[in-house]
């Protein structure tokens, strides 16, 4: 990270007059070790303050609340209306009346295609464009935060939100299921039954899987966010891309493209409910998302360091 500051400092100095003015570090030199400690400490405190800002916002809690409503709605509806006819509705719906723990998984199946990408798109699209629209981006860059470091911190905060969002769905689903339905050993897709404890561990693994699934889209959102000063544009574009990718994934004519879509393995988390669990899709998914992170991360970095920060 130490090079980030110096390079970003130089970058800012050269990136045109307005950016040059906001750079507070150009021309300052100090011993490398102190600089490194300062940078790490600075990055951590920046990350901490970024998280604090994110989770202090009412909007963040509204998004998480909306996600929490999905399992609550499912559980209450089934509690009131009774079992669904077999084979209809989202997967795992029929198992809820037998085992309330499945509320979280059913909610995850429902939330993954649209609600999760929507909420995460809001946060990812807001990262840079939100600061720019508030006019706070240049102040962030005045602080000894290089542009690349700011980008990294913003992305890390988005990743934390991804984890919070998926955990919200799984944890709220499990709790509401526990409250409203009988709970017992978990029947896996293979027909094997595991204890409640192992079932919960698997549900946490699913939350991890879905979190990883969303990282590629977060990188896309981060890049789009560097392109504009209108956060809504970046948010909408991110969510639309997620939907478009899923539509393309449903078209057999585009089969050659499917392995490259960042949505390809989104619903593959069911592989963790097999006995023995199949980890192939987890690995494939992680590799794919890492590819998106590298490509769109690099694009975002290039865009960020060449950007004229006017607000």
């Amino acid at each position: 990270m130490s090079s980030d500051v110096t390079s970003a400092g130089r970058v800012d100095g050269e990136a045109g007059a307005p950016a040059g003015r906001v750079d507070g570090e150009a021309g300052v030199s100090r011993p490398a070790s102190t600089a490194r400690a300062r940078v790490i400490g600075g990055t951590l405190s920046l990350f901490a303050s970024e998280l604090l800002t994110l989770f202090r916002r009412r909007r963040t809690w509204a998004l998480l609340g909306a996600l929490a409503l999905i399992p609550i709605l499912i559980a209450v509806a089934i509690r009131i209306a009774g079992d669904a006819p077999s084979g209809r509705g989202p997967a795992f719906l029929g198992q809820i009346t037998e085992n309330g723990l499945f509320v979280g998984i059913t909610a995850m199946v429902v939330a993954t295609p649209l609600f999760l990408p929507l909420t995460i798109g809001v946060v990812a699209g807001d990262t840079i464009a939100g600061e720019a629209s508030h006019g706070t981006l240049r102040y962030l860059l005045i602080a000894p935060a290089g542009r690349i470091r700011l980008l990294a911190v913003k992305y890390a905060a988005t990743a934390v939100f991804c984890a919070a969002a998926t955990l919200t769905v799984v944890v709220v689903g499990t709790l509401i299921g526990w409250a409203l339905f009988p709970v017992g050993p978990v029947t896996l897709l293979s027909g094997a039954t595991v204890s409640v404890g192992e079932g919960l561990v698997r549900f946490l693994a699913i939350a991890a899987y879905v979190t990883v699934s969303m990282l590629g889209m977060s990188a896309i959102g981060l890049f789009l966010s560097t392109l504009t000063t209108v956060p809504v544009g970046a948010m909408a574009a991110t969510a639309i891309l997620a939907v478009v990718a899923q539509i393309m994934g449903a078209l057999p004519q585009l089969e050659w493209l499917h392995p490259w879509l960042f949505t390809e393995y989104w619903l593959g988390f069911a592989d963790l409910l097999r006995q023995p669990p199949v980890w192939d899709s987890f690995a494939d998914n992680a590799l794919l998302q890492a590819g998106y992170l590298v490509v769109f991360g690099a694009l975002a970095v290039s865009r960020m360091v060449t950007k004229d920060v006017l607000s």
């Binding site: 209809r88 023995p276 690099a298």
Partner: protein
Amino acid sequence: MRAQHGSGASRRLSRWIPAIAAPIAIGVAVVVVPMQASAAVDLPDLTPAELLEFASASEVDALSGTIEQTSELGLPDLSGLTGTMGGGAGGDASSGGFGSGSGQGDSSGDGTARDAASATDLDDLISLATGTHTARVYLDGTNARLQVLDDLAERNVYLTDEGAWIYDSREQAATHVTVDRAALDALKAEASAQAEAHADEARDRLEAEFGTPLPTPEEVLDQALAKLDESTEVSVGTDARIAGREVYELVLEPRDADTLVGEISVSIDGDTGVALAASVTASGASEPAFSVAFTEVTFEAPDASVFAFTPPEGTAVTEHEVPVPTLAELEQRKAEHAAGTGEPSDRMPQPEVIGEGWSTVVVLPMAGAGAGATEGLDPEAAALLGTLTQPVDGGRILQTSLVTVLVTDDGRLLAGAVTAERLLDAAASGR
């Protein structure tokens, strides 16, 4: 980009290098990694006969691996219509993923078999014939398990000494197939005793006929190959790599012009002799119409817990005991079949075979024969059949790149790996 002077512009451009380099690096990795994986494989050369012998001598009885099956039969892909995201399109309980699809019959004790093929069964058949499926297989000496990995669902077949379990997670239904072991053992003992007695007699007769001792297994294989050579060109293809293992390729090419099959290729592991992949290519096509291959395989016995199955609570369990006939009953049945008698009403309709070799056509009298070939199906299934088949003179025809099926108006079903013309010809002439 509002750079005022040249050096500034070039520095700005240089900052886009990571953004350009990242996709290029990924692209190169995507191209290079598989190339290295399939880098030239050179196994010791074998003739087709040697390869077959090597494969048949294979003694692998334990493995676990992942299989991928792909079908491109040229059917319209109906998965978007018949399957929905996450949920099954089906309605009622199915008999565990093994749709019969062919109307009435085979309801011997199976509580869930229905009189008419439902749309669910057709869905299962169509889903098998289109798209890609992934499954895991586990084998040890006595047990076997096939685990079909569907989206958000799974179908399993567990085979153990105690019988077979078929479990479908989407339907939450399990079928338990058991065989009366005592009766089976008795049948085996009886049959082998009889076979031994017959074998001595047969060997004496054969030796008298040939005037020489019985041929060795290699000779038998050679003779079989010579016979096969009349209809099929057998050759050894290029060595390749399947699931990270070096394989031989055995290629079968029909000499028959009437058949739709262009080439059958079987990949045989160069180390163990196990078939690791097979594919069928239609004549004139470059890509296989049907292929099944291991993507990953190990030859170690899987953990015993993999084969354990007890139906979970809330599962509809169907018990199905397969009756074991005695040897006498079997012989009687065979005799009846040969004589063309017997009771066709309570058995599957007996198929009739026209032609031989690759252009064999199978004729099946359709249950509920009548003017409407789709009679006896529920409306949804009939509609589905309607979109799949085309009307021709005297019936409806289903044309895929490998198999052609003709349903005639007079209630016969003809199928074969042949062209539509050959099938219509067979329907008209009965030859």
